[in-house]
């Protein structure tokens, strides 16, 4: 408890270039509501997209806590802001108002380099359209986070360790036989499994999944959900999943409903 609130210790994703005080400053509102094992949280999150002079509000004050090891599903109709919420949690975007905290530290106002590091090391992301890089093979796609994190020399020094980890993950998602194939040679389910393997490469603490089954048929979707469920149970991986499918949401520990930019109680 105490170390979560300790402002004098910089979180590991804050680069040393940055002074610890302001950067790692806790949002006290969030901290006050934080209970033990709250892993990822947001308070009063607002976001609107600008369209000409008008701002179209997407999120209108979201409060959300994700516990450590929890499998949370966010459900809601299309356009209710689920993906935007996930992007904000994953620091891909910045909120207009409100705070996002990770392990008790505020992360939404970190400098770009620290957020890049955070996404690279601590968050794994899975998208509806898989988002694999078409020029790289499955194995290279899985290795991408390590390739991004390491310098050329650093990568070659630790190449075997990275590759071993990538092969393990490909085995885990059952894609070892497809390692040398380009994404366009894979089926949708295989691409999504490759994307999950990629998201897990740097041993993240949180997996953010944006409609991971949205583009797949029911049985393939079930496979994906099985993998996610196993990861959650065995590795105690915190998963935040966005979906519009109530059946898929049913696989999660807890479901939160989002409508018109707000969390619907009940």
């Amino acid at each position: 408890m105490s170390n979560l609130l300790d402002t004098s210790v910089a979180p590991p994703w804050v680069s040393s270039r940055r002074s610890t005080g302001a950067a790692a400053a806790l949002d006290h509102a969030a901290a006050a509501g934080a209970r033990r094992a709250i892993h990822l949280a947001c308070r009063g999150l607002q976001k609107s997209y600008r369209k000409g002079p008008l701002g179209i509000p997407v999120l209108q004050g979201i409060d959300l806590d994700v516990r450590e090891g929890e499998f949370l599903a966010i459900v809601g109709p299309s356009g209710c802001g689920k993906s935007t919420l996930l992007h904000l949690l994953g620091t891909l975007d910045q909120p207009d108002a409100g705070v996002v905290t990770f392990e008790g530290h505020r992360i939404d106002d970190l400098p770009a380099a620290a957020r890049d590091l955070l996404r690279n090391r601590h968050f794994g992301m899975v998208f509806q359209f898989y988002h694999l890089l078409p020029e790289l093979t499955t194995l290279e796609n899985v290795l991408a986070p390590a390739l991004i994190a390491e310098s050329t020399i650093g990568y070659w020094l630790r190449r075997s360790a990275h590759r071993r980890r990538a092969w393990e993950l490909l085995e885990l998602v059952g894609l070892a036989h497809r390692a040398r194939h380009k994404p366009r040679e894979l089926s949708g389910g295989e691409m999504q499994r490759a994307a999950i393997a990629r998201a897990l490469l740097s041993r993240p603490k949180v997996l953010l999944a944006d409609e991971p089954t949205g583009n797949l048929d029911r049985s393939t979707g079930e496979q994906i959900m099985h993998i996610l469920g196993e990861l959650n149970r065995r590795e105690r991986l915190t998963i935040v999943m966005v979906t519009h499918d109530p059946w898929i949401a049913g696989q999660a520990d807890r479901t939160v409903h989002l409508a018109e930019g707000r969390i619907q109680q009940g």
Binding site: L92, F127, H131, P134, I148, G154
Partner: protein, 518 residues
């Protein structure tokens, strides 16, 4: 690491970008070819310019010259002796030369140069352009008994067309000519006696008489009185002509001659008196020189210094000292020609003497060549710059095409500078490929330039490198590594600069918007 990997993959999968780099390749290749050929020409030209003149030229401003070369040379040595390797006094005078071809006198405007054959070789490489091997070793103004080069010794035997008439040049030719002349004179006499016998005493046409004998009759002072000059066994003072004065090259590369060593020519020039008077003397061609600089080969003729001084009345009757107009000075290797020139100019009154380096002498020509090279380089570099805009356009397209991938990379934690690095690196790779291939092509072209010129000539029927215009048989080229490096580096820099804008655009893409891009 991902930057390198993605650069490499993009390079291998995006052929459109390789197409746009072709313009860079061609630009680089052209620049290398042009610079090599220009450098080759310039070097060849400078070599020959410098070869014909001394490094420094000490010149009297008077056409009549000044007395006592020895004293002047002693003073020059005193001023800058440590830098001087050799000196030779000469007399330069504009002259009119008459060649006799088929009984007609053909005038030629020349610069007659009186040289001291013992010392001239020490200031100029003039000797190596002569056509007789013995004369190349040591020039003598005596007609040789044959043995003149049939094949140009400065060219490849495989490309130079043999000059078969040179086989007979020298004494054999002279004897043959005099025999023909004598026969003609005998026939003439026979005709005249026949005419006299038949009573029609028509005057014999003078033109059919031997022009040498006419000349000898008009200017008998060249020969001792009371003795007949026998052209079959005697010669006048020797003259070495530029090969362009009495020869010309046909478009097919063969040479035609209006006269040969062994023929006599008549030269008119002003006497060294006031007011100038014109005098004429006979000389016998003893050799040709071929510097392959058409300006020199078509205008300079060399005669013995002492003969010219005597013929122009430049010898002081009291002391026997000759006048000179110029002292050619050869400097030691490494000597600073400009500095020595300035020292000498300061030591002698500028109203009477002018000291110049060979570069000063040929300043306008060298400046023109330099200018041409510069302008060509600027134009060609602009072509590469235009190619840069092609790269810019293609790169913008690629960034748009890769928008989603950029979003993915950012969601995986790639930084702005990392994304920018991919595209800058890609530009660098394309530049390296383009410049590398261009350099290779350019160097290959330079190495095979003569074969290519021959091929083009055969295909088009037009000689690309007309040997009638240029006296070289082959296109001279010099590859300067520094120039090649600069050209290649410039091309790479342009490719990188052209990719800066698209790379910045890619780096600034918002990850969410990029991910949603369809």
């Amino acid at each position: 690491m991902y930057k390198l990997l993605l650069c490499w993959r993009y390079l291998r999968t995006r052929y459109i970008a390789l197409v746009c780099i072709i313009s860079v390749t061609l630009g680089v290749a052209t620049m290398i070819v042009v610079n090599s050929v220009m450098a080759g020409f310039t070097h060849e030209m400078q070599d020959r310019l410098n070869g014909m003149l001394g490094d420094l030229i000490f010149r009297s401003r008077s056409l009549d010259g000044v007395l006592d070369a020895e004293a002047h040379m002693a003073q020059i040595r005193q001023v800058a002796g440590e830098a001087i390797a050799g000196m030779s006094p000469t007399v330069h005078v504009p002259a009119l030369m008459y060649l006799t071809v088929g009984g007609e006198l053909l005038p030629r405007q020349i610069t007659l140069v009186g040289i001291d054959e013992q010392t001239y070789a020490s200031v100029s490489s003039f000797g190596k352009y002569l056509q007789h091997p013995e004369n190349r070793r040591q020039l003598q103004f005596r007609l040789r008994d044959g043995g003149y080069d049939v094949v140009d010794h400065q060219a490849d035997a495989s490309v130079a067309k043999p000059r078969t008439v040179m086989k007979n040049a020298g004494w054999p030719w002279r004897r043959y000519k005099s025999m023909i002349d004598r026969q003609r004179a005998d026939e003439q006499r026979l005709l005249e006696s026949n005419a006299a016998a038949t009573g029609s005493a028509a005057a014999a046409p003078a033109a059919t008489q031997n022009p040498f004998q006419q000349m000898a009759a008009a200017h008998g002072e060249a020969e001792p009185e009371g003795r007949d000059f026998d052209p079959a066994s005697e010669q006048h003072a020797g003259i070495v002509l530029g090969i362009g004065i009495c020869g010309f090259r046909m478009p097919d590369g063969s040479d035609q001659f209006l006269g040969l060593p062994g023929d006599d020519v008549k030269v008119s020039y002003p006497l060294s008196v006031v007011p100038p008077e014109i005098t004429s003397h006979d000389y016998t061609i003893v050799d040709f020189y071929e510097s392959k600089m058409s300006e020199y080969d078509g205008s300079f003729a060399f005669v013995p210094l002492r003969t010219l001084q005597k013929n122009r009345g430049m010898i002081d009757p009291k002391t026997g000292l000759g006048k000179f107009t110029t002292i050619q000075i050869k400097l030691r290797p490494g000597a600073d020609a400009e500095a020595v020139r300035d020292r000498l100019q300061n030591a002698f009154p500028a109203q009477l003497y002018q000291v110049s380096t060979w570069r000063d002498e040929q300043g306008p020509l060298l400046a023109a060549v330099h200018m041409e090279t510069m302008v060509l380089n600027v134009l060609l570099f602009l072509i590469i710059a235009v190619a840069g805009f092609g790269i810019l356009a293609i790169f913008c397209m690629i960034v748009v095409e890769k928008t989603r991938d950029i979003g993915i990379l950012k969601s995986l934690g790639a930084s702005r500078s990392g994304v920018m690095g991919i595209f800058l690196g890609y530009g660098l790779c394309l530049g390296l490929v383009g410049a590398g291939v261009g350099t290779g092509l350019g160097l290959l072209f330079v190495a095979k330039i003569n074969e290519i010129a021959d091929l083009l000539a055969r295909l088009t029927g037009q000689p690309v490198f007309d040997p009638a215009v240029y006296y070289f048989y082959r296109i001279p080229t010099i590859v300067e590594p520094l120039t090649v490096t600069w050209v290649a580096a410039g091309a790479v820099a342009i490719a990188v600069l052209a990719s800066v804008l698209p790379a910045r655009r890619a780096a600034r893409l918002h990850p969410v918007r990029a991910l949603r891009y369809e």
